[in-house]
């Protein structure tokens, strides 16, 4: 009995074979998964987004998806997940990208060396042909010793053939020298896959068997690389081709001279879509016309028939912070359209292959705050959802980098819902205030990042990142992803918002709200120079930062006060969901320290600003 037995983690029928989909990132694995199972998974261009194991059913058997990895070991979380799923597999469908065969076959050969039956899906053959790459599929199959099926998954080509041949998967050819080493180790551990990983120095697998990890990783890797290169020489013919337009565009995105204007252009597009079109035009309709003019009178009237508006229940349900008024109006009228807009934009960016190029461009700059370019990915994703972004900090190379990125996400990166409300509040105040807001947030990020880089122990890692081909995002994929993410958002945010509103409502009817407001007056009125009612916004902010910002809507503030309030609430503690993720990723002690520091820093910087401007 192995502790990593998959059946303990996922619920699959008894006697079902475990068919595992494995492959490098961005090879179209998820398209296979959707097609084989008919079930939805999150398709993404970036490693880290399919970290959860997804599985579906094909006939009597289970299909299990794995995160995209370049090899099986324990260099990062994705690899550990992929490793354990592959170790438990009955059959592996290995999806390889025909354009990057040389890279992808390293994983293929490693899985073959693990002794699992494999079938290879040679995907994106159309793209390879366009790039002048010719592949002898039959010879490839002979040399690997496993069936190889040609596919163009997005056009559904070759998928039926793959399904029909699935059970012809077999154990491929392993280099003789390695085979002999494996046999010796096999006697001790009983599984060729585990034997291989122990030889390759995987500490976790070795520990499971009470063995010391082997020191032959480099030797085995080099031999495998040699074998793959040799194989490539025989099966691939590369004819000359002109650098494609996409390749050229990809280069422009990286070089700052062209890359900075491109990034500015992308940001401007996002601003136009989210802050202008959605925040003003769409929200103007959904919030003003639909919610405030139509829904609110309707619900107030309806509930008003049952309870008096001034009664306790009336106040809780349809009052200023009413569960049926404020919650519904903010969630559906304001947040929903904005979050939809944001997620569709971010999904398109994720799928296009643009993010790793931004990472390369900003590598140097992020070096100042102890991060390498890769960290730009959690930051950009953080503008969508800080909680999800916190999970992707795992792709950073060292503990120090993960701590810095997690803290900065919690402090200085506002999420889409929060930006939505901020944009709506800033909309009336002119460009100057908006620029001031962005500049202040950026300054805080740089100051705190620099300090963390100085005080946190440990080393930062170097940038080494795969630049996937630029691809036009597929509308279907972007829509699916946006819908799923928006749905998760609504499902998570609505009850929290309702609880928050209810709590404030109860504080209000019990008179506690006034007491808290007076109690916090030195902080709100004295230090931040805001009206004492702003305390309500901060109480809401403990639940979710965007609710905090939403709580500012009803206050009458001067432009300076708005700026101070927005900076404070933007820096304010992360929402409950991201707080929980931080605990999971960083442990209770560090999470508590981060949370408390963020709270103090938010009031410190907010007050500093108020004092300077005041």
């Amino acid at each position: 009995m192995h502790c990593h037995d998959l059946s303990n983690h996922i619920n699959i029928p008894k006697g079902a074979r475990k068919i595992v989909l494995a492959g490098n990132p961005n090879v179209g694995k998820s398209v296979f998964f959707n097609n084989l199972t008919g079930m939805y998974v999150d398709v993404s261009n970036f490693p880290g987004t399919t970290l959860d194991i997804t599985h579906g059913i094909l006939g009597k058997d289970a299909i299990i998806d794995t995160p995209g990895v370049y090899g099986v070991s324990s260099f990062n979380q994705e690899e550990i997940v992929a490793r354990d799923v592959i170790l438990g597999a009955d059959i592996v469908i290995n999806v390889v990208d025909a354009v990057h065969l040389e890279r992808d076959l390293f994983l293929t050969q490693q899985i073959i060396d693990m002794g699992v039956p494999v079938i290879v899906a040679l995907n994106m053959l159309d793209e390879a042909e366009k790039q002048g790459v010719k592949i002898d599929v039959d010879l490839l199959s002979d040399l690997l010793g496993v069936p190889v099926i040609s596919t163009v998954a997005v056009e559904k080509k070759g998928l039926d053939e793959l399904k029909q041949n699935l059970y012809k998967a077999r154990v491929g050819i392993t280099d003789l020298e390695l085979k002999q080493k494996l046999i010796k180790q096999l006697e001790r551990v009983g599984s060729q896959g585990e034997a291989l990983l122990i030889l390759e120095g995987d500490p976790h697998v070795a520990a499971r068997h009470g063995l010391k990890p082997g020191g032959q990783r480099e030797e085995i890797y080099l031999a495998r690389r040699g074998r793959v290169n040799d194989l490539i020489k025989h099966v691939v013919r590369q004819t000359q081709h002109e650098a494609s337009y996409a390749t050229k565009l990809g280069r422009w995105m990286i070089n700052p001279i062209t890359g900075v204007p491109i990034l500015a252009g992308v940001m401007y597009l996002m601003y136009q879509l989210v802050a202008v079109f959605i925040a003003q035009t769409v929200v103007g309709f959904t919030e003003e016309t639909v919610m405030i003019e139509m829904y609110e009178p309707f619900i107030v009237n309806l509930v008003g028939k049952l309870f008096a508006e001034e009664s306790i229940l009336g106040i809780l349900l349809i009052g200023e912070f009413g569960v049926l008024t404020m919650t519904v109006i903010y969630i559906l009228g304001l947040l929903l359209p904005l979050v939809l807009g944001f997620y569709s934009f971010l999904s398109a960016m994720e799928d296009s292959g643009y993010l790793p190029r931004v990472a390369a461009m900003v590598d140097r700059v992020l070096g100042f705050i102890g991060l390498n370019g890769r960290a730009v990915i959690p930051f950009i994703l953080g503008f969508g959802c800080v909680t999800m972004a916190t999970i992707t900090t795992r792709l950073l190379g060292s503990d120090k980098e993960r701590k810095i990125a997690t803290f900065l996400l919690a402090l200085a990166i506002p999420c889409s819902a929060q930006i939505a409300v901020i944009v709506a509040l800033l909309a009336g105040l002119g460009v100057k205030v908006a620029i001031a807001y962005v500049a202040i947030m950026f300054t805080v990020l740089v100051i705190i990042g620099t300090i963390l880089n100085k005080i946190l122990p440990g080393q930062s890692t170097h940038l080494m990142i795969d630049l996937p081909p630029l691809r036009l995002p597929r509308v279907e994929n972007v829509l699916k992803k946006t819908t799923i993410k928006t749905w998760y958002f609504l499902r998570e945010a609505t009850p929290l918002f309702a609880i928050g509103a209810l709590a404030i409502g109860i504080l209000q009817v019990s008179g506690l709200l006034d007491i808290i407001q007076v109690g916090l007056a030195p902080l709100t009125e004295g230090w931040l120079k805001l009206p004492k009612e702003a305390a309500t916004a901060f109480i809401m902010g403990f639940v979710r930062r965007d609710f905090g910002a939403a709580g500012l809507f009803d206050l009458t503030l001067t432009p300076v006060q708005t700026l101070v309030a927005l900076v404070t609430i933007s820096l304010f503690v992360p929402c409950i969901a991201s707080g929980l993720i931080i605990i999971k990723e960083q442990g209770k002690k560090h999470a508590a320290m981060m949370w408390a520091s963020v709270l103090v820093l938010a009031f410190f910087f907010g007050g500093l600003l108020a004092q300077i401007l005041g």
Binding site: F75, E102, I254, P256, A359, H462
Partner: protein
């Protein structure tokens, strides 16, 4: 010379990569000691973009500084 001295369009042969962990990771992209790669783009003060066949990788400058290479052609 070291990889960070590479110029755009230059073809170089990798002579030495110092860190075992880096060697084990970069080997998967087809880059080993002895491999011939092309410098596709050099970001001023930033990473070097190298390619081997159709595979492109961005290598941070601090890492490139540690990788010993030999120029094959300009």
């Amino acid at each position: 010379m070291t990889l960070d001295k590479g110029k755009k369009g230059m073809t170089v042969k990798i002579l030495h990569i110092p860190d075992e962990l880096i060697r084990s990771q970069i080997i998967r992209f087809g880059i080993t000691e002895g491999a011939v790669i092309k410098c596709e783009e050099v970001v001023p003060a930033g990473p070097i973009i190298v390619s081997r066949n159709l595979q492109e990788i961005a290598i941070g400058r601090s890492l490139a500084r540690q990788i010993k290479v030999e120029q094959i052609s300009a």
